[in-house]
């Protein structure tokens, strides 16, 4: 299996010499092609910092991050932007859609900044809209859509460029349970049928249970790791809950 993401001993420090905070303290792991990995942890555990480092929004203090064999901690300026736009797809908690554009235009935007001709664009958007069940909302503006629809449009935007890795930051955080389930089922579909590699950050055990692997983080370190294997989602969910209990009461609110 091909390694999509390889994280080697990364550290991230905040603050000055006198009051040092280790947001990430020596984390290493790998993600293979076609995996759906969830990173779990309570707030302040460093999971969002980790995601920001992988997405090049933030930089690491030491260590290396390889995406498709390229060390992204060495990239600078417009190479970073190029990397972000061609190799990564993003789904954010608060959707981050442009409210002035329609759903179609929002999705098209990530193609048009790669100078893809409109004809090809139309076909690809049609395809992805089919896959994510958003064909009826393509002409609508964000304010006319429900949260679930918005997040699926954002997901469409994230995967339309065929990125090596899709990064999702609390994608269900702003959704009701029904929309969350629907979105996660779509994620599963994308993962299984389209072989999209997804790395998702969440503090919610239910959301995490849709993944094929869950990595637990506490105080900037990897605490535990679970593989779903042949278990059903329900069984996997119970396993996750066990770890959460082990982690301490912090994550109880995640239920």
């Amino acid at each position: 299996m091909e390694n999509i993401l390889k994280i080697e001993k990364i550290e991230k420090y905040y603050g000055s010499r006198f009051s040092l905070t280790k947001a990430i303290d020596n984390i290493s792991f790998e993600v293979e092609k076609g995996e759906f990995v969830a990173i779990m942890g309570s707030s302040g555990s460093g999971k969002t910092t980790l995601l920001n480092c992988i997405s090049t929004i933030d930089s690491v203090t030491s260590g290396h991050i390889y995406v498709g064999g390229v060390d992204i901690t060495k990239l600078k300026g417009n190479h970073l932007n190029k990397f972000r736009r061609e190799e990564l797809g993003f789904v954010f908690q608060d959707f981050n859609l442009l409210d002035t554009l329609t759903a179609y235009e929002n999705i098209a935007l990530s193609l048009s900044i790669q100078n893809i001709p409109p004809k090809e664009m139309e076909e690809r958007i049609k395809n992805v809209a089919d896959n994510l069940n958003i064909k009826d909302v393509l002409k609508k503006y964000p304010y006319q859509m429900s949260g679930g629809q918005k997040q699926r449009v954002a997901s469409a935007r994230a995967i339309i460029t065929n990125p090596k890795l899709v990064l999702a930051d609390e994608p269900t955080g702003a959704l009701d349970s029904k929309s969350a389930r629907m979105l996660l089922e779509r994620f599963n579909y994308l993962n299984k049928e389209l072989e999209a590699t997804i790395l998702m950050v969440t503090h919610d055990a239910f959301t995490a249970s849709y993944a094929t692997r869950v990595i637990f983080i506490k105080d900037g370190k990897i605490f535990n790791e679970l593989h779903r294997g042949e278990n059903t989602r329900k069984e996997f969910f119970d396993q996750i809950i066990d770890v959460v209990t082990l982690l301490g009461g912090d994550l109880n609110d995640a239920l």
Partner: protein, 681 residues
Amino acid sequence: MMLCRLSLKNIKKSIKDYAIYFFTLILGVAIFYVFNAIDSQTVTMNVTSSTQEIIKLMVNMLSGVSVFVAFILGFLIIYASRFLIKRRNKEFGIYLILGMSKRKISMILFLETLFIGLLSLIVGLALGTLLSQLMSLVVANMFEANMTKFTFVFSKSACIKTILYFAIMYVLVMVFNTIIISKCKLIDLLHSNKKSEIIKLKNPILCVFIFVVSVSILGYAYFLVTAGFKNLDSADKIFKPIILGVVSTFLIFWSLSGLLLKIVKSLRKVYYKGLNSFILRQISSKVNTTVFSMTIICLMLFITICVLSASLTLKNSLQANIEKLAPADIQITKRMNWVDEGHTKEDIEDAKKDLLESFSDSHFNINDYVKELVEVNIYETQDLTLNHTLGTLLEEIRKQYIFLRYDEEETIMKLSDYNKIANLYGNKEYSLEKEEYLIVADFASMVEVRNIALSKKETITVFGHTLKPKYTECQDGFVELSAQHINAGIIVIPDEVVDENYKTHNVLVANYKVKTKEEKMEIESIMIKASENIPSIVYYNTKLDIAEASIGLGALVTFIGLYLGIIFLISSAAILALKELSESSDNKERYNMLRKIGTDEKMLNKALFRQIAIFFLVPLLLAIIHSIFGITFSVKILEMFGNEELLPSIVMTSVFIVIIYGSYFLITYTCSKNIIKERRR
């Protein structure tokens, strides 16, 4: 004390946000000072007393205009500060939560306004003092005074006036700020930047319809002021095209965004290229909310362009006209007939003498002072008025031109007399057959009227002879020295037709024997004294007087034009800049999002540049189109001042616009770029 430190820190912190505000204040103060300091600059100049009169008039008018300017600047400052307060809602919200009273917040704002006001006054006055040194060169050049030595002038009165006016404005701003603060609610303050935007899309078909309608209304308004110019014979009729123009401008801006979106969207290749869809949507979502201010800005720019170019043209034509229309040094006219009762026999007898006789009576030897002396006579008769000249076409013309005085007696001259004058002036000389006449005129609208009759070969009857016109249109020429084309028409007839009993005026035209201006002024005063010694009524007209009056008029118009033009330009540019800046900070999140999905910095900056450029250019473009017609119209109004070439003044106007408008654009772009810049942790 704490409040004082807080407000100072606030200013320092938000100096980038305040840059435009500050820049505008400084410019406003500087310009206000410069134009009010003109009088103290002219004091040091060596000019004649009549020029001094004109300068006095000009200074009075400028200070009147200053009141108007103060109003405009006052509104601008209040608008700008209200804008800046809105930007800081969250900050005030936090103060309130911390338990600060509204009174204290008002106090902070008060202190901030005070600091900014003081600073801008000091910097503005310093800049104004520097600029006014430049201005004194302009003033001296304008009044053709020779600046023998450069003196540094500081006008105390202008300085005090500037401080006073701006102090009043700042006090008003403080009052407004207090009112705003006392009215606001905490919850609104804290949540002010969380309101989600609802995009109101206009029906594209309606937009196209409205656009077409407004363009045709505008076209009609343009037609009214250019091709339909003749029908604008009374002042109130001019309001129709103005109102039509304003309304259509508003509607064009209203429909433009929808139309543009519709057009570009249909060009898929353009719309889905790079960030074009984003830029276009940004613009169309904004234009919806800024139609009103766009209209105001467009109209202000239009006024700026027209005022600047018209005033500069007027000045140039005035100067060019003097050379052409006052080709001799002096002209003395004596009234020769007294038809009315109530004059003594001596008066009537004296009036019958011509000027040369009168001069020699008073032992004044005119030939000691002048050369190239020409003496001619003018005749008038009740039997030849405009009514008669127009003949059978009178009724038709009367309907079209209701304001002419049709029963005024025509000015009649002998052919030989007219040729003598024309020879001296360097104008064309004419010849006539026995039964012919011709009309010389250069006042364009009278030429138009007379040409109607001449083209129909209307004959006239004068002193018992019937004459037919030699030419089918008026000939160019004049007798009276003047600064403008004001010759409404002189009927030139063959010498043998003239009846000497109808002689009404005796006219002397001559050049002085000397060369320099000082010597000419000396001779002129001798000549004028001699003319005033003649008991009958004598008028005189001299090139020096005409030149001075017209220089004064030119300077007056230019200064007022410049003053108003620059203030209008600054106001419109400042409003636009403030709007754009606040848009940029509202759009910060959007740009951040674009960055997150991997857009290049270069692409982002290009998008920002285009967005701001379009916002600055669209009102300017429409204003330029308006101005093409506006200037054509004003040229027609001012045509009696001569049609000097427009190009130089249009170039000058463009320079002003490029410098002021352009620098506002650049500042806006630079500040916006800073606002949307990513702040790396």
